[in-house]
């Protein structure tokens, strides 16, 4: 995990970086202000000395049952720099009342599906995402299953069949009309 990149962020965008803790295995990560996220992403991607072009993934953590649980959600971003041979882990925290983070789809194309994934499972909205729909669950699903308060054996109501538009059935007697 790249400490160099965090130094650079702190230098170029000093108001963006809130904290920079180190985890038990020596991995550095940075906590960002949510509004600064696209600018930071643009920096780490295009800075010639950083080159975090390889976008790895996004996920979220619902901190409801953790000792420190406010704000409730944490969105975690992973990127990799082939140039520096290092991983980068950045996080933003959002509250339950306003779970909104700016989308990174304009910086990394790969963010598209991962943001849909986080929306699907945690209900965190990504502002500016072109198509923020569920990705693994179905559209009629109620709730967000990876939230800690979603029950393990939660039941979902039956959903009516979706209408199918514009079916071309072809010549013949079956199904025409």
């Amino acid at each position: 995990m790249s400490a160099f990149a965090l130094d650079r962020i702190a230098k170029v965008l000093p108001e963006a970086l809130l904290e920079r803790p180190v985890d038990s295995s020596g991995g550095h990560w940075g906590l960002l202000r949510a509004e600064a996220l696209p600018a930071v992403a643009q920096l780490v991607k295009s800075d010639p000395e950083l080159g975090f072009k390889l976008f790895l993934s996004i996920d979220a953590v619902d901190r409801l049952h953790l000792a420190e649980n406010s704000p409730r959600f944490e969105v975690v971003y992973f990127a990799y720099s082939v140039l520096r041979n290092e991983h980068l882990r950045l996080k933003v925290r959002v509250t339950e009342e306003r779970p909104e983070v700016p989308s990174l789809t304009s910086v990394y194309q790969g963010a598209n599906w991962w943001e849909r994934f986080v929306w699907d499972f945690y209900g965190i909205r990504f502002l500016g995402h072109p198509d923020l729909t569920r990705i693994l669950m179905y559209e009629e699903f109620k709730g967000h299953p990876l939230r800690k308060d979603y029950p393990l054996r939660g039941r979902q109501p039956l959903t009516p069949e979706r209408p199918v538009e514009d079916i071309f059935r072809g010549p013949g007697t079956s199904g025409v009309g």
């Binding site: 995990m1 985890d23 038990s24 295995s25 991995g27 072009k53 390889l54 976008f55 790895l56 993934s57 996920d59 953590v61 619902d62 049952h65 953790l66 000792a67 975690v76 992973f78 990799y80 082939v82 041979n85 991983h87 882990r89 990394y108 194309q109 790969g110 598209n112 599906w113 991962w114 499972f121 569920r134 990705i135 693994l136 669950m137 179905y138 299953p145 990876l146 979603y150 393990l152 514009d166 071309f168």
Partner: protein, 413 residues
């Protein structure tokens, strides 16, 4: 004297304005639905395709048909009990998922596993890499109309599956390894059988190579199809053979060596064009390197224990469990409470057959994971599929879908 009508037809040939002689048909874009259950869509992926004639204008992959609630399930069982769920992520190379997950847990808990266990993990992972690549290469041949290479690949794959069965007791869902090492040592006479299997596989890979690599029909279908630039590939998060085919030599085994990969002598093949043919060549080349790694590991593997000697992490030997009170208590506590993993978080990655398999684990100090994020390589690669096939023919979707080797289990969790 030539018939004037003949000449008229001749003149209208190549020089005529485009479409002058074609009957004007009313056309409109056609929306077709490939999958979720389609022989060429491995697993259960549905792709909505908008066609103009035979050209793909837009392709929208739709996933989720195989979603099993992987993360939610893991959050409600102990760390070791997550193993059977990890098998089912990439069911073609289950050992790599098992070991990758265990490696992340061990990093979080600060456990160093015995050297012999590290060697066994390398052997298991590389055997399954051969298994995965053989499946992929064989099915590319199959879906482009060559049945023989597929049969060769499956023959080799079955032999490896037999060795894996001898090692783990299961063909597909291996659930092998435990936090702290490996749950059982190599079986008697296994080394020799693996070496013979590798000899046989080497022969079969040679056959596949001869049948496909210089085959005009095959090359025409593959070369220049499904192209992606290295910048786009990184942007989408391609890793593994798909990224290396674009010319970027990123392999976790080399970049951040884990287990005993730093002692192994192997190369990372890198492509140039980022097309289907390069992705195929990457896999074919990696097969040879994986074979060499297994041989080296089998040659160098030291004797010794295969799991840490710490009863808080690994189950005590059975005579201790049945013979001593301490053994019973350790066994009971480990089964009921799970491995004690201190509170904290970690990101760890290993090189799986299709790319970087990343794990972001959060522990709250209880015996169960608080969060298990899996960064499946196939998810990112599949999200880049539209970029690779839009503007191409519908028939090009098939080889492209083959060479990205998407595995439904890991993409849809």
């Amino acid at each position: 004297m030539a018939d004037p009508t003949d000449r008229a037809v001749d003149e209208a040939g190549p020089d005529a304005e485009d479409g002058e002689l074609e009957a004007h048909l009313h056309t409109k874009r056609m929306l077709i639905n490939m999958g979720p259950s389609h022989p060429a869509m491995h697993g259960t992926v549905r792709t909505r395709i908008e066609l103009e004639g035979e050209t793909i204008v837009r392709a929208i992959p739709e996933i989720g048909f195989l979603h099993r609630g992987f993360q939610k399930s893991c959050e409600n069982v102990t760390w070791n009990q997550c193993l059977p769920y990890t098998d089912r992520l990439n069911y073609v190379s289950a050992l790599m998922n098992n070991f990758g997950f265990l490696n992340a847990v061990e990093k979080l808990a600060g456990i160093t596993i015995p050297e012999r266990a590290q060697y066994i993990r390398v052997i298991g992972a590389e055997l399954h890499r051969i298994h995965d690549h053989l499946t992929c290469v064989g099915s590319i041949g199959l879906e482009l109309g060559g049945f023989a290479p597929f049969l060769y690949a499956i023959e080799g794959r079955e032999l490896i599956m037999d060795r894996v069965t001898e090692l783990t007791g299961a063909r597909l869902t291996t659930s092998f390894g435990r936090v702290g090492g490996i749950n059982r040592d190599l079986p008697e006479g296994w080394k020799e059988r693996v070496l013979k299997t590798l000899d046989k596989c080497h022969e079969l890979i040679g056959e596949i190579d001869t049948l496909l690599t210089a085959n005009r029909i095959f090359v025409d279908r593959m070369q220049g199809v499904g192209v992606i630039t290295s910048d786009d590939a990184q942007d989408f998060g391609f890793t593994g053979p798909c990224l290396r085919a674009t010319g970027i030599a990123y392999d976790v085994r080399k970049a951040h060596p884990y287990w005993v990969y730093d002692r192994m002598d192997f190369d990372v093949p890198v492509g140039v064009n980022g097309d289907n043919f390069d992705r195929y060549l990457m896999r074919l080349e990696e097969l040879k390197h994986s074979e060499s790694i297994v041989r080296q590991a089998l040659r160098d593997i030291p004797p010794g224990p295969v799991i840490v000697d710490d009863w808080r992490i690994a189950l005590p030997p059975k005579p201790e469990v049945y013979g001593t009170i301490e053994g019973v208590i350790a066994h009971f506590k480990l089964v009921m409470e799970g491995v004690p993993v201190p509170a904290g978080e970690v990101y760890d990655c290993t090189e799986a057959a299709n790319g970087e398999l990343g794990w972001y684990l959060v522990s709250d100090g209880s015996g169960r994971p608080y969060k298990v994020h899996v960064r499946a390589p196939g998810f990112a690669i599949l999200s880049g599929l539209p970029r690779m096939i839009e503007g191409r023919l519908l028939a090009d979707l098939i080889p492209t879908f083959d060479t990205i080797n998407m595995i439904g289990g890991e993409v849809e969790q």
